[in-house]
């Protein structure tokens, strides 16, 4: 009797365990079809080499990143017009806060086969999801999909799949560009002519040094945490951070990397940056708005933040072109992307909505919002007079003009570092800035730690 009970009990526990294991390892089998994407079962049409076909009917989920608060009316309008044009299609909009858990949260959604059908992703997230096969191969599923986009943006919107082939899993959406934003009064106090921004990053660092001498701890040039500058500064200086196949770090091979770290260490020591910002996640927004930092964020929409939160500082704010340095053009960074989940149960609806959202008409309409400085990625939108004939001398208008100028030639291929690799490099630079390592040793150690992580990634 007792043995029977024991057997039944053990069998029950094993059954439970296997059920749980099945839940965890099978990936849930979202689509119920006979194809697979990542670890999920999906409709056969979502994968493979055939064009996507099917009725544009059914409900999909559309996820943006921190846009609902400021642009709710615009996106609700886009969704309503899409639903009107496609009876039977329904779009449910959700908005992720876009904090530093975004990539890991999205990856967890993908593993659970619950990725939103249409999703706004950044480059690191797109890299991870493409490698694991969770995104639709857009140029295969709709061969005409590239037509509206500026060729350079479309060309850069590729990511490597598991086999290492570059495929189009993203539609380029909007881009911000990069700018110098600064407080004219503080620059004047430091003897810097705001009308003549430097053309090299080391020239900019020399200006930071002047601000440090003028500020004497009362105000600073910028923030210390190198996380705001790696790898964008390296890109702008045309320093190769990673090898061509992305499997090893090579930035230490360029002597300018050590010079760059030496500059950062010098500036930190001389007080060009608040000491407590070395490993702080705070960007310059707050201190700039208080008039304590001379240079603001390089994101043009930062101007909007200052206008809303600190009108008196906004009156003293000017914008200048980003130093083009050795690259010879702006390293504008990757745009925001729109992707379609390969796990979508209504992929025809999702693809149709993704293309509708990023078409020239909708991109132009959004980018004309008076409170943002963002730029479209479609050829027709960029040819709109709104972007070509900018007038006005206010920081907003000037920012639009400068970005429009730089986007004609900008490099949108920002080096794509994983958060762990970026942190590993940043950590060593921080030690050099504290004087705990020489710049040369820090660069060497940073490369070794980055390589260790890249090696384990395979």
């Amino acid at each position: 009797m007792r043995a029977g009970r024991l057997t039944a009990s053990v069998a029950g526990i094993i059954a439970l365990t296997l059920t749980a294991a099945g839940c965890g390892l099978s990936g849930g089998g979202s689509g119920g079809g006979d194809g697979t994407a990542g670890g999920c079962k999906v409709d056969k049409g979502n994968v493979g080499s055939g064009k996507l076909t099917g009725d544009v009917k059914g409900q999909i989920t559309f996820q943006t990143t921190n846009l609902k608060k400021d642009f709710g009316a615009f996106f609700n309008g886009v969704i309503a017009s899409f639903e009107k044009a496609h009876p039977g299609a329904k779009v449910k909009w959700i908005d992720d806060p876009g904090d530093n858990t975004f990539t890991q949260g999205t990856v967890a959604d993908a593993q659970a086969c619950t990725l939103p059908d249409v999703i706004n992703v950044n480059a690191p997230t797109a890299t991870a999801l493409t490698k694991a096969g969770y995104l639709l191969n857009l140029s295969v599923k709709d061969p005409q999909v590239a037509r509206p986009f500026v060729p350079s943006f479309w060309k850069s919107a590729t990511f490597q799949d598991a086999s290492g082939s570059a495929i189009h899993t993203t539609l380029p959406w909007y881009t911000g560009g990069v700018l110098l934003t600064y407080n004219k009064d503080l620059l004047n106090k430091a003897g810097i002519d705001p009308a003549k921004p430097p053309t090299t990053l080391f020239g900019l660092f020399a200006d930071y040094e002047k601000v440090a001498k003028a500020g004497q701890g009362k105000f600073y040039a910028t923030m210390a945490n190198p996380i705001w500058r790696i790898p964008s500064d390296f890109d702008q200086m045309n320093i190769k951070t990673l090898s061509a196949d992305g499997k090893s770090a090579v930035f230490a091979n360029d002597p300018r990397t050590t010079q760059w770290v030496a500059w950062m260490a010098k500036l930190y020591k001389e007080g060009a940056m608040p000491k407590d910002s070395l490993s702080s996640s705070n960007d310059p927004s707050t201190l700039y708005s208080q008039g304590k930092v001379a240079y603001g964020s390089t994101n043009p929409s930062f101007v909007r933040f200052v206008k809303q939160n600190s009108p008196s500082i906004y009156a003293r704010t000017a914008v200048g072109q980003q130093p083009y340095d050795a690259l010879g053009r702006a390293s504008a960074g990757a745009p925001q992307y729109i992707s379609v989940a390969a796990t979508s149960k209504h992929a025809p609806v999702a693809l149709a909505f993704a293309e509708y959202l990023t078409n020239a008409e909708n991109q132009t309409a959004w980018c004309k919002d008076p409170d943002v400085v963002i730029f479209p990625t479609t050829t027709a939108s960029l040819n709109d007079p709104f972007f070509q004939n900018v007038t006005g001398s206010d920081p907003f208008s000037q920012a639009r003009k400068l970005v429009a100028d730089q986007l004609k030639t900008a490099d949108t291929n920002q080096t794509n570092l994983s958060p762990a690799v970026q942190n590993a490099i940043v950590g060593q630079v921080q030690l050099a800035m504290q004087g705990k390592k020489s710049p040369a040793q820090a660069v060497k150690d940073a490369q070794a730690k980055a390589n260790e992580l890249l090696k384990q990634a395979g």
Binding site: A132, K275, D276, S280, S418, N423
Partner: protein
Amino acid sequence: MATETAEPVTVPGTGRAASVPGTAPSRIRRIGRAVLPGPVPGANGAALYRRWWLPWLWTAPAIVCAVVFGVFPFLNTVILSFTDAKPLGGAASFVGLDNYTRMLGDSDFWLATRNSILYAVVVVPLMVLLPLMLAVLVEKNLPGIGFFRSAFYTPVLASSVVVGLSWQWLLADDGLVNTWLQKAHLIRSAVPFLSDSWLILFSAMGLTLWKGLGWYMIFYLAALGNVPKELHEAAQMDGAGAVRRFWHITVPGVRQAMMLVGTLTGIGCLRVFTEIFMLGSSTGGPGGADRTLPFYIRDVGLDPISGNAGYGSAVSVALFVLTLGLTLLAQRLTKEDEA
């Protein structure tokens, strides 16, 4: 010899016989007879539970939860630790003890282990004693004491992120703490609470303590209720002061609660992440010098692009062994104390 016969007890006003526990069918037995097949053996309601599967039925929800959210993830982690699995899945190869061998020679792993252990060594004794002292202070029912109890408990309710931001403002170079110290002429230049790796670590410990004091104070308030007041009165009559009574009556009286607080705090300390992230940002302090084991697991195991879930799992197993060791130590100390 007369034989006593039990008279049936009637329910007043109804004329119906009432059931007497142990002698007459109880309501539960009648329900049992109605809904369960077969005869109900035995003379009382407990016999209902002789069906072997009933205890399993009652405990099934808890067992399912434990298996799905505890046992299975744990076993999966152990299995993964012998592979080179990636966070996003895909094919994983068996690598034997490679991950554990790598761990032993990994200086960053040992740095994270040191930080986690140091965290526990510093925080546990303070977290065991300070809330007890706080509980003793607010135990008495004085007018307005509720305000102080609420005030001490408030940090427990605040989110870790909000508390972390508040502490950033407090500890910044131009923050409240440095400003006060400078105004009091105790320091000339700002104390680098947020840029020195040791100070970031100790500031994070302070944050953990501040946030946990109120929670454990409630534990102790409950435990203090079981300490006989007569002992305090007798000791007071014999001339024992407040400090002596605290050490010789209060502390022994709540020793079990102290062991529990120590164990829970120790486990919590080994899992610290948010405090370090809030004060040391995504790098875990300058050069990653303040990373704890969970922080390190995130960096090496969970990064969706460069992470190695196999190695991260091996570090997780090491963290589990450390936590288990601490728990067993606490159990042993408790048993010795009881003996």
